[in-house]
């Protein structure tokens, strides 16, 4: 497993150029593959989303305040960090995207309602159905394209209004 420096567990990206009057979607993107993380981050930023990336499910849970040692980030109370969408790769070492999905859906907080999108390079119907049955909003085939993210945004915006 890669080990980055202790200080940079995840990136927080904020695109000032695309700040609209209404709320921007804040997306937490989880993927163990560095190239895929860069790509999904760019796709989301170009689609006017605020993006936080995590390199594995554990880091993602920690960011959401669901870490093992109940590591509550002080600023979690701040609206800025509220996540509107979680997009995660399915196949990750350690905890899979599916397990992450289940953990999020088990929550009693606002997190339960946060849409979780699963990505995978493999098109396996039983896998897709399993994810959808456990509450995944959508399943997306990798590699992601701009049109996929645009469709996703439309879908989510419609759900929110």
């Amino acid at each position: 497993m890669n080990s980055g420096s202790c200080s940079s567990l995840m990136d927080v990206g904020y695109d000032h150029h695309h700040h609209h009057g209404h709320e921007e979607l804040h997306v937490l993107a989880v993927d163990d593959n560095l190239i895929d993380r860069k790509l999904v981050e760019k796709l989301l930023k170009i689609s006017s989303c605020k993006v936080t990336t995590a390199e594995n499910a554990i880091r993602a849970l920690e960011y959401l305040g669901l870490g093992d040692q109940n590591q509550h980030i002080d600023t979690l109370a701040n609206n800025d960090l509220k996540v509107n969408l979680i997009i995660t790769d399915y196949c990750m070492p350690g905890m899979t995207g599916f397990e992450l999905l289940k953990k999020v859906k088990q929550e009693s907080s606002y997190l339960k309602e946060v849409p979780v999108v699963i990505m995978s390079s493999e098109n396996i119907p039983t896998r897709i159905n399993k994810c959808l049955a456990s509450g995944a909003q959508m399943f997306m085939q990798k590699p992601l394209k701009l049109s996929d993210v645009e469709k996703l945004k439309c879908h989510l915006m419609n759900c929110r209004s």
């Binding site: 150029h17 593959n33 196949c91």
Partner: protein, 154 residues
């Protein structure tokens, strides 16, 4: 060389990479994500891909050279390389990884060795081609020109 000539050379070169199957449409997706605010996006991502892949191929060589090959180590590496090559549009590398994984599943050491050679070959090819492509782009930019948009009708 005139700017127009350089731009034509770049287009022809890029087109040939698609026709040879070295790159697929996912590479065009990457190019679509590049803009004035991030003019080096493609080369940044591709550079990351090179660094990551060099490391993975090295690890794979080491793993396959062990007395007893641990396929639980080998397969995730190939999966990783398959994923990143697919994400940047390096079609032939991705396809070679797909074959590699089937030999991993079969725990076929000989087959895996052959696959690793194949993957390396395809990887060095795409690396070489993309480095050339970026050089052509740099020459155009250095001459004050813009990179022509890729024509999709071929």
């Amino acid at each position: 060389m005139e700017l127009v000539q350089m731009q034509k050379s770049l287009q022809d070169y890029t087109k040939s990479l698609f026709l040879e199957g070295v790159l697929d449409s996912q590479f065009l997706q990457l190019q679509q994500l590049q803009d004035e605010s991030n003019p080096d996006f493609v080369s940044q991502v591709v550079t990351l891909f090179f660094q990551d892949s060099d490391r993975i191929l090295n690890d794979l060589s080491l793993s396959l050279d062990q007395q007893v090959v641990d396929f639980k180590k080998v397969d995730p590496h190939v999966h990783q390389l398959k994923g990143s090559s697919s994400s940047i549009g390096a079609q032939r590398v991705k396809n070679a990884c797909v074959v590699f994984r089937t030999f991993c599943e079969q725990q076929n050491v000989e087959g895996c060795h052959r696959c690793l050679q194949q993957v390396k070959q395809e990887y060095y090819l795409v690396k070489n081609r993309l480095e050339t492509l970026f050089k052509l782009e740099q020459q155009i930019v250095a001459s004050g020109g813009v990179i022509p948009a890729m024509e999709l009708g071929f």
